[in-house]
Symmetry: C4
Subunit: 208 residues, 4 copies
């Protein structure tokens, strides 16, 4: 076990390619989200009323797309921030990053599910569970970088309460997942508000 | 409110990753546009006449694809230009950029809608409204960069009438959206001509 | 007209972002090609014989995918080569590059068409026409770079017969497009052989 | 033949663009894998039980997605490692890299096949054959780089048994492909365990 941890602590990888790979994955995720918005099928191709109604029925999909886009962009921004603190990368970080990206790339599935069945509590709460899990994976990546790879000149400015603050994310999403079983609109609102907590990465301690 | 604006004014992000993320999104958008071109289904797989007719019916989709491709490339070029004026990035810029990219990545949807229902005024005018909105988002990003993040050596060369000139874009698209209710071909022509106004980014004032 | 040409001759863009955007488009095109390979539908999910037959029927799609992949990689390599000769980029180059990429991103459509209807001469010859047109667009980009943007130290090594040699590409694809009407296998072979002519970019004159 | 090999030995390409293109392809592959997870169709949109059952039936697809994601990330990491050893690139390397990426981009197809027909030995064993072939292509790329393009200062640290060790990869996948005909779960387990052998790239000899 120690040997495995040691093995993951090895390697001195260039951050540039890790960022390029991650940016590619983030860019594709946000762009794929729109593929769930299918053009409505009309019986009469020229009918304005029918098309208007078809677009109106897409509203839950539009909202799901909007929420997911904001959440993924928030992850991208915080990912950008946390990688800028690292002096280099080791294999442990690469794998934590890969697993984090794996579940980021999973986001279009619960988004489509929630957009397709906005009235189904299981579909709506699954969205929150996936987002909570993603945030936990991000916190794991963040902890690995802060404790093992942090640039020495930035170590002093580290916020000791960062972990506690970060946990507000998964708790917010899980609250939304729970609320969905009581009231679907409350679940939606909870999902829309949670990413706003992390709309900007935390500032270093001494600047507050 | 001031505190929120202050928070968005913080951060000192590397432009490189923002450009990489944006380039990824632009590249995927333009490439996804072609996915709307489905191979026509034939009753007789070897029939040249039937395939020719099937391709002919794809013409509105080809035209929509062409116009959208040119528009997105134009946005990419102007995005490239405006980011080259910035000395660094703050959180406000990152979020304006993300929201701009969000609605860029939305472009395949109205493109598909217009390609599928070229005879439906609502479908055609929606395309113009989305493009006008995209241009407004671009103008917001441009203003933020010019007023807050502009490299000092470039500030003097700024065109004071840039905002007024930029508004020609949304007005052109909205004119097309309005014309579509009167005459569909006029709407199409308006959409095809508007991006030509911005085919090259504005030159700095002193070179004109 | 001169004024328009002058406008396209302006601008001094960073090659890095043009390459990043182009690499993104190339990477997505080659990866999207595989989406045309659909899992065959089976009546009996566990039947080895039925699945074997289903995969066998995919053979024309596999071959189309293979040929298109090699052709797009060849374009990528020659694009890489020609951009390495440029000292900077102007708006003319950016637009020639964008239009070239537009028709590169179109490649999945004729590839799918040829894979779906390998016995239809129109489908097969369309593939050749699109590839010939792509090569012509590449030659236009190449000429613009060589005549206007070439690094001075590389100008002397330019091959004066490059244009004539490059035309072998469109002629090969058009020959395949013509042959398809006589014999489909001959057309296929012609398509497979033509990219091999350009499997490596031309060496500078003095090294031959 | 010698002349052809000589031609492939020419060229002095920038590694940066090859990495950017490769990263783009890797990023798209891992993200496309999720597109195979389709939202289950429900008769009653609000039924929790029906949705739960639909998700349960997706389990083989989830597992296929998970295994493929880990395998492609492992390839990415080893690709990153091996390219960091190269001092420059020649045409031979570019083509070996392109052919390697071609079959990487093919991965979503056998993944979808195995996810759709987890009870079909042909579908499951095909997955192993494709992965074995991918590893062989990677070994070819690795050998070309180590023997022709290796940075001189790293040549001494090369592991003489690297080739033998690398062959464990294809053998593991082929074992899984063979086992699938005897017992499907054994095949799955073999596929899941093989990438773990290469979860970190080999360390240089002197550090062991």
């Amino acid at each position: 076990m120690t040997r495995l941890l040691q093995r993951f602590g090895q390697g001195h990888l260039r951050l540039g390619r890790i960022e390029a790979f991650s940016d590619g994955v983030f860019a594709i995720i946000v762009t794929l989200l729109v593929l769930e918005l299918h053009v409505p099928e009309l019986h009469s191709a020229g009918s304005v009323a029918e098309l208007g109604e078809g677009l109106w029925h897409l509203l839950p999909k539009f909202l799901s797309w909007l929420i997911s886009f904001i959440i993924v962009c928030k992850f991208w921004l915080n990912h950008h921030h946390i990688l800028s603190l690292a002096s280099h990368a080791d294999y442990g970080m690469v794998w934590l990053n890969s697993i984090f990206l794996m579940f980021q790339s999973f986001v279009p599935f619960p988004t489509a599910l929630m957009g397709e069945y906005p009235g189904n509590p299981l579909a709506v709460s699954l969205f929150g569970v996936v987002m909570a899990f993603n945030t936990v994976l991000f916190i794991a990546l963040q902890s690995w970088i802060l404790h093992r790879l942090c640039k020495p000149e930035l170590a002093a400015a580290r916020d000791p309460h960062l972990l506690a603050k970060s946990l507000a994310g998964p708790l917010g999403y899980l609250a939304g997942a729970g609320l969905a079983w009581v009231s679907l609109p409350l679940g939606f609102i909870c999902y829309a508000l949670t990413p706003l907590l992390f709309i900007t990465p935390p500032e270093p301690r001494n600047s507050e």
